[in-house]
């Protein structure tokens, strides 16, 4: 299973004075099993790129293929392939519409033509995924929830479609740190169990460093860097700065310490890991 992006260019408002090239010549392949992070400055084309991946918009030039099927096609096969790529938009809570939380989550599976038992099972599963208790929330109106809870319902609505690829556009914007950690730990758990591949757009470098197995850096509609996140953070700081993004604060600190001659594991992604190693050097081998 793979998503193949063949040299795509996308122009908003072609032929008008407001014409804007949002993507130019992006070419990449995303394999099943990858956890891809996408970073880039505001307006660099991240949202535009990911909307191509499940056929919501079609490239002005180039093609997007999922398992070799062109998403721009009108065939039943193309529609089915589009549904294997699930998308959680920026501020997804704005798309809720049903009377109850359970019905809203059931919208996707119903559209896929699942049986009622299957729909019900998927709703249960999706709600436990996002950490919403079924008994408490299933019958409530989604409009009487807090913003963070609405976000979870919206994410559950996409999870219930059981996508092979899960795309998340800034899923943590406006969530409290606990909520963010919970959602990411669930995503990571399911990813590690092999439930889906993940494509994550985020401005939070920490999340990216902790989760992603591959990093794409966008700058003015082009994909300028593509590779292992740590390699990019450690060896391409100038390019990152030019692209208007930064390295994770932890990596920055460790690089600084290393520059001062203190031996530290600069590839650490968790604070605990770095702190332990640092304590070891300082106290002569004793871990805290």
């Amino acid at each position: 299973m793979s998503i193949r992006v063949e040299n795509i260019t996308y122009v908003y408002g072609g032929g008008t004075p407001y014409e804007k090239t949002a993507l130019s010549g992006v070419d990449l392949t995303i394999e099943k099993g990858e956890f891809v992070g996408i970073i880039g400055h505001t307006g660099s084309g991240k949202s535009t790129l990911i909307q191509h991946l499940n056929g919501l918009i079609h490239p002005t030039e180039g093609r997007v293929l999922v398992d070799g099927v062109d998403l721009a096609g009108k065939s039943r096969e193309a529609a089915a392939k589009r549904h294997t790529v699930g998308m959680v938009f920026q501020y997804p809570e704005q798309q809720l519409f049903e009377e109850t939380v359970a019905q809203d989550i059931a919208f996707g599976p119903r559209n896929l033509g699942c049986s009622e038992e299957e729909v019900d099972a998927r709703v249960h599963e999706a709600m436990s995924f996002v950490g919403l208790d079924y008994e408490t929330y299933a019958g409530r109106s989604p409009f009487r929830l807090s913003g963070g809870q609405m976000r979870r319902v919206a994410i559950a609505g996409v999870i219930a479609m059981k996508p092979d690829f899960l795309i998340l556009d800034e899923p943590s914007a406006g969530l409290d740190p606990v909520g963010r950690r919970e959602i990411f730990s669930q995503i990571r758990k399911w990813y590690e169990e092999g439930a889906f591949s993940v494509i994550l757009v985020s401005h939070n470098m920490d999340d990216i460093a902790k989760l992603a197995t591959r990093l794409l850096v966008m700058n003015h509609g082009r994909c300028i860097l593509d590779g292992d996140p740590m390699d990019i953070f450690l060896h391409h700081r100038e390019e990152l700065e030019a692209a208007g993004v930064d390295v994770p604060p932890l990596t920055k600190t460790l690089l600084y310490l290393k520059g001062r001659g203190i031996p530290v594991p600069e590839r650490a992604v968790a604070c605990e890991e770095a702190a332990n190693a640092l304590a070891k050097t300082l106290k002569g081998g004793k871990s805290c």
Binding site: F89, Q94, F97, F107, N111, M161
Partner: protein
């Protein structure tokens, strides 16, 4: 895509027409549209054509854009043409049994259709060269004298401004919600009428909710800035007549007079 719809269809520029006062533009457009209906001879049509082409040239708006404004109304144009061609009695040109096409019919049909094309093309110039906000300013100023007979000029203008301000936002939002629901398998395009109406629910509910929320926010924001209607309100951008407006009025007056002359004295 939905957001490709250009509403208000302003074409940014810095031409003579762009820099005219909106009041003058609105009045000139109205006068010239009436004048178009004075044209009834070949020469007068040539004069109208020349004036419209000159205006387009001065505006800097590509002819393609003007044609785009005319295109959506093609059904009305074809209908007008057919009605005239088929129903005007006169010297038969060709006849098929029970109905015949007359020379006068063809002539009237073409002239009437041409009039409509001119009318649409010329008024599209007004919206192409005036940003919606400036246009409402102009309308408000023109309506202000009618306040005395109960026309709520300021309120109308404010409503128009707000509507214009939110149309793009709502279109963008519709587009986004549509995409979000389609990626959950919603289908807005196939099925019978009932199915399609039902498929609108997942789109309309979130849209209404956000529209009400926005309206609420806007009302609060206006109140927080002490908005209390048009009484005693001054403008940041004062409307000013300049030599351009005088020149435009003069040009329209000359053309109108010429058309009137050709109609009644030639």
């Amino acid at each position: 895509m939905l957001t490709d719809i250009t509403l208000g269809q302003y074409y940014p520029g810095n031409s003579f027409l762009h820099r005219m006062d909106p009041r003058a533009k609105i009045l000139c457009t109205m006068i010239f549209i009436v004048a178009i209906f004075l044209a009834n001879s070949l020469w007068s049509y040539l004069l109208v054509t020349a004036f419209i082409l000159a205006s387009i040239a001065v505006s800097g708006v590509p002819v393609k854009m003007v044609a785009k404004a005319v295109k959506p109304l093609w059904i009305i144009l074809v209908f007008t043409l057919l009605i005239h061609v088929l129903t005007t009695p006169g010297t038969p040109l060709v006849s098929f049994g029970w109905f015949s096409i007359s020379e006068e019919g063809v002539r009237n049909g073409i002239l009437m259709t041409l009039r409509l094309v001119y009318l649409i093309a010329f008024s599209s110039l007004l919206t192409y060269t005036t940003s919606p906000i400036v246009l409402t300013d102009g309308i408000e100023a023109l309506l202000t004298p009618w306040k005395r007979v109960g026309v709520p000029a300021h309120e109308l203008a404010m409503m128009m401004t707000i509507a214009l301000r939110f149309i793009p936002t709502l279109l963008e939002e519709t587009d986004r919600i549509m995409k979000a629901q389609s990626s959950r398998g919603a289908d807005f395009t196939t099925g019978n009428l009932w199915q399609r109406a039902k498929s609108m629910v997942p789109l309309l509910v979130p849209l209404f909710i956000s529209a009400f929320r926005r309206a609420d926010d806007l009302a609060t924001a206006m109140e927080a800035r002490c908005y209390r209607g048009g009484e005693g309100r001054t403008k940041m951008h004062q409307l000013l007549y300049t030599w351009r407006d005088g020149a435009a009025f003069a040009a329209v007056a000359v053309v109108t007079a010429a058309l009137a002359g050709m109609r009644w004295f030639l």
